[in-house]
Amino acid sequence: MPSQNVRVHVYGWLLLMPAAILLIAFTHFPTVATLVQSLFTTGTATRPAAFVGAENYQIMLEDDVFWQVVQNNIWYAVGTIPVSIAIAILMAVWVNARLPARGLVRMAYFTPTVLPMIAVANIWLFFYTPDIGLIDQVVSLFGGGSHNWLGDPDTVLGCIIVITIWKEAGFFMIFYLAALQSLPPELEEAAHLEGASRWYYFRRVTFPLLMPTTLFVLINAVINSFKLVDQLFILTKGGPDNASSLLLYYIYEVAFSFFDEAYAATLTVVLLAVLAVISVGQFLLLDKRIHYR
């Protein structure tokens, strides 16, 4: 009997191994290595890396750029997440209805998602360019002056937020659409027989039943708000004066422009910690409320 048991265990571990190797080699090991690296100085040819404990974190807390980037990132999240989710639900309900050519409409909404962020940034460059950009041309029709949308620290982050919403809403819509299609149509019929308006039905039935999807989308949106920085490379490079720089972009700059690996590792650890806290928090907080089954 015991040998049988051992065999089962070995078999189990063998089955797990391919996935485990990949995860450990490319996720867990780099994470731990980063954590370790953040406790050392950046080594050079003449001076090897030395253990400095929390000094890198100390430096980080005194780094003005870090705080600005964190602040930007919070605004970026606050600006993109609720709006893109709201738009996604709205579009999903709208294309779920029986309207003519809804296949076409669905595809149109989904297109931004299919485009790579770099291509999206190029499209929006055409909108934002001063004087010859679409926005300025329209504004000038109504007698407004030209404005350097991406060059003004007051407007640049807003511009980036709009692009992200435009790109993300269609993606989230797909999840809501799938969830809506899984709701039995009799629910709505039963509600209509009772005299419920469409808005009442949405508020009291559809929306609560979409909560599991909302949780999923929310987590994705939060993670994206830290992850989605491709457009910065094309549009602003974090400028002007770091007004549009986000945490991940800052990490990139520190690591590959300033070549300060230790500080980049420190910032990365902070980013990972933030993401971990947010995901765990969301699960604990929202899980109870939404699982009605």
Binding site: P184, E186, L187, E189, A190, A191, H192, L193, E194, G195, A196, Y200, V205, P208, L209, Y292, R293
Partner: protein, 348 residues
């Protein structure tokens, strides 16, 4: 006050004609059953009455008032869906009171009505459960309670018992019928189960291919079926339909020409005999017994009469020895005559 009337109602989706000219009246307080095979248009009829679909032609009247163009909520109708259509995120009490809340019934009244209905359908201890935590029968009761609590005079039910086991189905049948009588509701009930129709209905409407095949009391449908389709749909096992051919004194059974004959009948006609109307006797048509299914109270025996096979219901346990021969007999009153081509009943 709660009479339902359909006048020449048609319904089509593109090229598929689901209902072709359906007219009937459900008098106030009646239990009307729409019966028929799958796809004959029962659900469509019900959904048209509820206003969940719009008619292609014809008119629908409720309490004498034309409601053809009215929205579902303006018709003041309750409905029990086949899938129950309970809201999964609401508990039993919230599910039942959903409509009351929509219509802004005051909280006190909501409570008393909820309590009363819960008592009535036997859900009193389960008000805090979610639908997923209920058994099929309990869910069915919640759906029923939601329909009753509105205190509408008309209730539509689309195969509400089809998800339940035989025992529970029987119990719920009795309960639904009892509730309907006590509350004086007009009920239109859809089923494809003829036993359910026979045991519950004041009036049965048997449909086929979007048309009404026959309408009447369960007894009328059983004792004077208008067509062979009705004859074979009502009753279990279905009526035997035997082909006639011309004999010297009228119609005789094809393949057993020399025994019984029916005057003024002949080729081009069929006779129908219910399995329970056939007896084994000394005289009659000789038949070879083939097999028997024992059902407890009786046995269903399959036999061959000349070239045609018949089914006979025998009391008790009936043993068939291989190749055993008997004589089968039935009375003239038990013989139904139909036209072979049209299937319509021929009155002798």
């Amino acid at each position: 006050m709660s009479t339902i009337e359909l006048k020449a109602v048609k319904k089509s989706w593109g090229n598929t004609l689901a209902l072709k000219d359906v007219s009937f009246i459900a008098p106030e307080g009646d239990f009307l059953v729409l019966l028929g095979p799958s796809g004959c248009g029962k659900s469509t009829t019900l959904r048209l009455i509820a206003g969940l679909e719009t008619v292609t032609a014809g008119r629908i009247l409720i309490a004498g008032e034309d409601v053809t163009a009215k929205s579902p909520s303006e018709r003041h109708i309750s409905m029990v869906f086949q899938s129950y259509a309970l809201f999964p995120h609401l508990n039993v009490a919230e599910n039942i009171a959903f409509g009351l809340k929509v219509r802004k019934v005051p909280v006190d009244e909501r409570k008393t009505r909820l309590g009363r209905v819960a008592e009535l359908v036997g859900l009193a201890g389960l008000m805090d459960r979610k639908p997923a935590q209920l058994s099929g029968g309990q869910r069915q009761r919640v759906a029923l309670a939601r329909a009753i609590v509105a205190e509408n005079h008309i209730c539509l039910m689309d195969e509400p018992l089809s998800n339940l086991d035989a025992q529970l189905r029987h119990e719920m049948r009795v309960e639904i019928r009892d509730l309907q009588k006590r509350l004086g509701m007009t009920v239109v009930y859809v089923t494809h189960d003829q036993t359910e129709a026979m045991s519950m209905a004041d009036k049965v409407i048997l449909m086929r291919d979007g048309k009404i095949e026959q309408e009447g009391t369960p007894d009328e449908l059983y004792s004077t079926p208008a067509t062979t389709f009705v004859a074979r749909f009502i009753g279990n096992p279905p009526m035997n339909v035997l082909t006639l051919t011309d004999g010297p004194d009228g119609g005789v059974l094809e393949g057993a020409e020399s025994y019984l004959s029916w005057k003024q009948c002949g080729a081009g006609q069929v006779i129908g005999v219910r399995p329970e109307d056939i007896d084994v006797s000394e005289t009659g048509v000789p038949a070879e017994l083939i097999s028997a299914d024992y059902l407890g109270a009786d046995s269903i025996v399959t036999a061959r009469m000349g070239s045609q096979s018949v089914v006979v219901r025998m009391p008790g346990r009936f043993q068939v020895r291989d190749g055993e021969r008997v004589n089968l007999k039935w009375s003239n009153e038990a013989t139904h005559i139909f036209d072979a081509k049209t299937g319509h009943r021929v009155e002798p």
